[in-house]
Amino acid sequence: MASPLEARSLSLVREGNAVLDGVSFTVAKGEIFALLGGNGAGKSSTLLTFLGFLEPSGGEVLVNGRSVGSDVAAARNAIAYLPEAASLYAHMTAYENLDYFLDLAGKSATKDEIDVALDRVALPNEARSRRLQSYSKGMRQKSAIALALLRETPILLLDEPTSGLDPVAIDEFHDLVKTLAEGGQTVLMVTHDVYGACQVADRVGLLRHGKLVGSFAAENGQRIDTETVHAAFAGREAT
């Protein structure tokens, strides 16, 4: 069976600059893969090529074994995407937002189903009928995650999902992602948070100047060693 996500010698040139240069990786079903890198390493661009927003200049990206370029809609349909610092509409309540976005994805959910999803992301009950403009950054992030849950897609793409969240919320979020992966969802997240990546991911890829320069996998039920990754990340950055 084809891997849910695969990048084959992916290259990307934007405005004359090589953003990605020959990046290859696959993410297996139920796996959490974290792309780790500094600012401008090409992390977000990688996600955008999987969504068909950016076209590879070389190589290709595949979703469920099919090239994204050949069927963008199918790729997007299989993916729930959580952009960095995303906010749903501030002038609508969480219920209204989720209702709207699900409709947009061609799905529908009852209020109960929405409540279940909001429970899972721990959005307080009293807040759900309020407009998002009164929400904290964390609450907005949670409502966006709830959308990703409700879409029940086989693949999740997460862009800096924990930035702006407090430590408790980060732990909760990591637990949630792990549960989702155990349920069979494939997760590709990009982050610059070494600790977070090592804590949640089954495998960490180190991205530097558009090149995949290292890979660390969890072995024998152990988490990836933060120290090793950190040393690799910092050491190479320094040189």
């Binding site: 927003f53 963008v72 997007r76 995303a86 906010s87 002038h91 209204e96 409709d103 994805a105």
Partner: protein, 418 residues
């Protein structure tokens, strides 16, 4: 598609910014239509009063007259162009060209250019009628409704999420924009339809007008759509769109107008009057034959009755030189009319460069308030003046005995005749 539309309608209902512009469009449309109907009914009232007073005045003037000449001299006749049942939507040239006259059988050129003008300050600014709203203001409102559909989502970092969720941009932006355009069109048109019902406008006319509004807004939508695809900040998009609107709504019409008027000089109106008056004035000093000859050339049927006596004043001679006055300026007057028509025809072509001009002109045409209609009215006045002459001449020149009862057969002005 229907599902997309209902979803986006629900979305629109929660967007207070968009609702504000839509509400504004609705209110402005109501205001424009209301003012239009009020103005049209005032014009109708004026005409009704004038018809009554005109008849009374003529009866008064004709009373006790003892010859054909004095009867024709003292009796004025009202001519007018009533506003059409769609004029409420576009007052057009009715504001700058006269639509009512009182003429008598003197030289027509001395009478037809009299303008029963409104307050000059008003002519300067122009009226807020539906045509102006639809042509100039509605595109601005459309721009404000649509310009940042994409760009605002981009600034809020929501664009990619939305498109990724929707799968394709078509199922998102098209219905979202379509709902707004449809709402704008409906809110603009509903007051127009109500107005058309009150005024008894023909359904086909109202339909054509609606078609014009829809077509023009679709063109503007296309423009906004093309510009809106640029990956620029909302404020730069809006600035560019407003600039484009300025160019299409103000600069292009102004430049074409200046060019057309320079290319088609209209004879100085004063010249027409001057020449006509000089001719009439000079006739007093000339021997009667100098007047009667050109007159008989035009009216050979009175050749046998064109002898003017040596002594005393004769009305025949007086009206003959009035007629000759008109004859002399005929080429100038024709040139004046032709030049106006030529300007109008070229303005019609130039208006294809500006959707705003095109819409206003189309509305004026439907409402019968365009330059052509006003010139047609002038032609009607000329024709009626001709009827007056045709009535009096056969009585006056053969010197039929005066019969006051015959005056009841005076031609009546009929605005419908063409």
């Amino acid at each position: 598609m229907l599902g997309h539309l209902t979803r986006e309608t629900r979305f629109l209902i929660k967007d207070r910014g968009a609702l504000f512009w839509l509400l504004l469009a609705f209110v402005l449309s109501i205001v424009a239509v209301t003012f239009g109907i009020a103005e049209v009914s005032e014009q109708r009232e004026t005409i009704a009063t004038l018809i009554k007073e005109d008849a009374a005045d003529r009866a008064n003037a004709l009373e006790g007259q003892e010859d054909w000449g004095s009867a024709a001299y003292y009796a004025f006749h009202l001519t007018y162009a009533p506003p059409s049942d769609f004029a409420f939507a576009a007052m057009g040239q009715r504001d700058s060209s006269p639509w009512k006259h009182r003429v008598r059988m003197l030289a027509l050129e001395g009478q037809i250019h009299e303008a029963d003008t409104r307050n000059a300050d008003f002519g300067l600014v122009g009226r807020f009628d539906f045509a102006f709203l639809a042509a100039s203001v509605a595109p601005l409102l459309l721009i404000l409704l649509l310009y940042d559909l994409r760009a605002s989502e981009r600034t809020m970092r929501r664009h990619d999420l939305l498109v990724a969720t929707a799968g394709s941009s078509r199922s998102l932006w098209l219905p979202r924009a379509l709902v707004r355009v449809t709402a704008l069109v409906l809110l603009l048109l509903i007051p127009l339809w109500v107005g058309a019902m009150i005024e008894g406008t023909a359904a086909s006319l109202a339909l054509q007008a609606s078609g014009i509004v829809v077509a023009s807004l679709l063109v503007w939508w296309l423009i906004v759509e093309l510009i809106g695809r640029l990956d620029a900040s909302p404020s730069i998009l809006l600035t560019s769109l407003i600039g484009l609107w300025l160019a299409l709504a103000i600069v292009v019409p102004a430049v074409s107008k200046a060019a057309i008027e320079a290319a088609n000089p209209v004879p100085d109106g004063g010249e027409i009057l001057l020449l006509q008056r000089e001719t009439v004035n000079d006739a007093w000093d000339l021997p009667a034959e100098a007047t009667m000859e050109p007159f008989v050339e035009r009216h050979p049927e009175y050749a046998d009755h064109s002898e003017i006596g040596e002594e005393g004043f004769e009305w025949k001679w007086y009206y003959a030189f009035q007629q000759v006055g008109d004859q002399v300026v005929e080429p100038l007057a024709t040139q004046y009319r032709e030049a106006r028509l030529a300007r109008d025809a070229q303005a019609g072509l130039a208006s294809w460069l500006s959707p705003t001009s095109l819409v206003e002109r189309a509305f004026e045409k439907l409402a019968g308030t365009d330059a052509r209609s006003m010139i047609a009215y002038e032609n009607q006045v000329r024709a009626y003046h001709g009827e007056l002459r045709a009535f009096y001449y056969p009585l006056m020149f053969p010197e039929e005995p005066f019969d006051a009862d015959a005056l009841s057969d005076l031609p009546a002005y009929d605005p419908q005749e063409s």
